[in-house]
Subunit: 268 residues, 2 copies
């Protein structure tokens, strides 16, 4: 139980998992490996592209809640953890060249460039932990599947080469639970915050709720309504579309485990 462990205990568990990622001993999905601790989406871009992407994050904070950004060439991310090395500490990386996935590697020291800028963005795992702690059942966790994600007709605000539709994740709730979920996730603006929509999927351009664009269908039950949150797949989708000469991201589900507490990111 999270509630019986001190921040130092939680950080020790997180550091142990990060060490395993660093040493190439952890390539499995990270949810559940660091209770109470922030995990982050990672994107690494050359400096020429990074300024526009940083502006894109500021203009689209719900899908792209920036936790930190490095200076060019800097691979230490002290704001998120004393010893973090973004070249080694993600369990599995994806390397894209001109928007094409080239390879998955557990370490990018051999690919590192002096002009690389690392972005770490907040992730829904943080607010999902708050929802579960509040007794709100999450269907995809109960069924041990991925959350359902959809491309929408909600356009992001463009910045340079970065533009495109917002991607959302969907979790079904009974209305009273949805109201509680809106309250709880509103406390966490740095990890996507409140939902962007609920109810009729067609209103945000989703044609078939049973056919997610990423992840697994969610099996909405009678009396439940789908609730949609801005999703961290948005920046990945936008970067792939922009086709930078090189971009490195985490492999979905294999996140950067930080030293920061989810509780520290609660706005209220």
């Amino acid at each position: 139980m999270v509630s019986t462990q001190s921040p130092a205990d939680l950080q020790a568990i997180a550091r142990e998992a990060r060490m395993r990622a660093r040493n190439g001993q952890l390539s499995s999905p990270t949810p559940g490996l660091s209770p109470g601790i922030v995990q982050g989406n990672v994107a690494i871009l050359p400096r020429d592209w990074a300024d526009d992407f940083l502006r894109f994050c500021h203009l689209n904070q719900k899908p792209c809640p920036l936790l930190t950004v490095s200076r060019p060439g800097e691979y230490r991310l002290n704001e998120l953890g004393d010893d973090i090395d973004i070249r080694t500490d993600v369990p599995m990386y994806r390397v894209f060249r001109d928007g094409q996935l080239i390879e998955e590697v557990p370490d990018i020291r051999h690919l590192w460039q002096d002009d690389f800028v690392a972005f770490v963005l907040g992730c829904s795992f943080s607010f999902e932990e708050a929802l579960v702690s509040a007794g709100l059942p999450l269907r995809h966790l109960q069924r041990n599947t991925d959350v359902a994600m959809y491309r929408t007709n909600i356009q992001t605000t463009p910045s340079g080469p970065f533009s495109g539709p917002m991607v959302v994740s969907m979790r079904p709730f009974k209305p009273a639970d949805a109201i509680r979920a809106i309250q709880i996730t509103s406390r966490f603006p740095r990890v996507h915050g409140a939902p962007v929509h609920f109810g009729d999927p067609a209103q945000i351009g989703i044609r078939d709720i049973d056919q997610p664009d990423w992840g697994d269908p969610a099996l909405i039950q009678p009396g439940e309504t789908p609730v949609f949150w801005a999703c961290g797949v948005t920046p990945q989708s936008v970067i792939e579309y922009a086709k930078p000469p090189i971009c490195i991201t985490h492999k979905p589900g294999r996140m950067l485990i930080t030293d920061r507490l989810n509780a520290d990111y609660a706005a209220i």
Copy 2:
């Protein structure tokens, strides 16, 4: 504009309206007469009934958010305003005997009993002001009608003779506005707080959304969802059903105007 007036200015406007009510010069509905200031639902019961009703309020805080309760025989309500006299300051009273409406009077000094206990409950006008200030359109205000209210199948928690279904008010919103409305009203637990339901009316026992039990239909437009809040008609309905030998309430829409600022009741 509320935002350009100091608390003292707002309280001066409210006191002037309360003085007119006291002097029998105000019998019209009070919404709009005291910007920024809390207006309250009023119920007055004999002591023998008041203890159970006080407990009912504590057990059902969403429909019955208690702002203050007097000691038996006390007609000053200093907690809500220095000079308030609950026998004269409501614009129009309704007198019920054995659950039957007997008369409407502008003053109850001639009816006052030494065992009377006065209850003042929070009212949705406070959160409606917050919604309008946030730029969220309220259909019933735009159309100058009463809000639509419905008896539900949500049962209140009984206390002695007081029991019965929760009454809700309904306001239609587009989903993104509904999410914002949930956030805003969550800040005001003393004036009904967050909604209790949205979407399918049948889930809370409402058969025909176009036929409210009180107030006027709301004309839900395409793309909007009905959002339901616990309503201050609940305690009035419960008291009528319990049939105390005497009970005095405000006439709907003619509320007690206090000295308290809506802003003071924001939880966060």
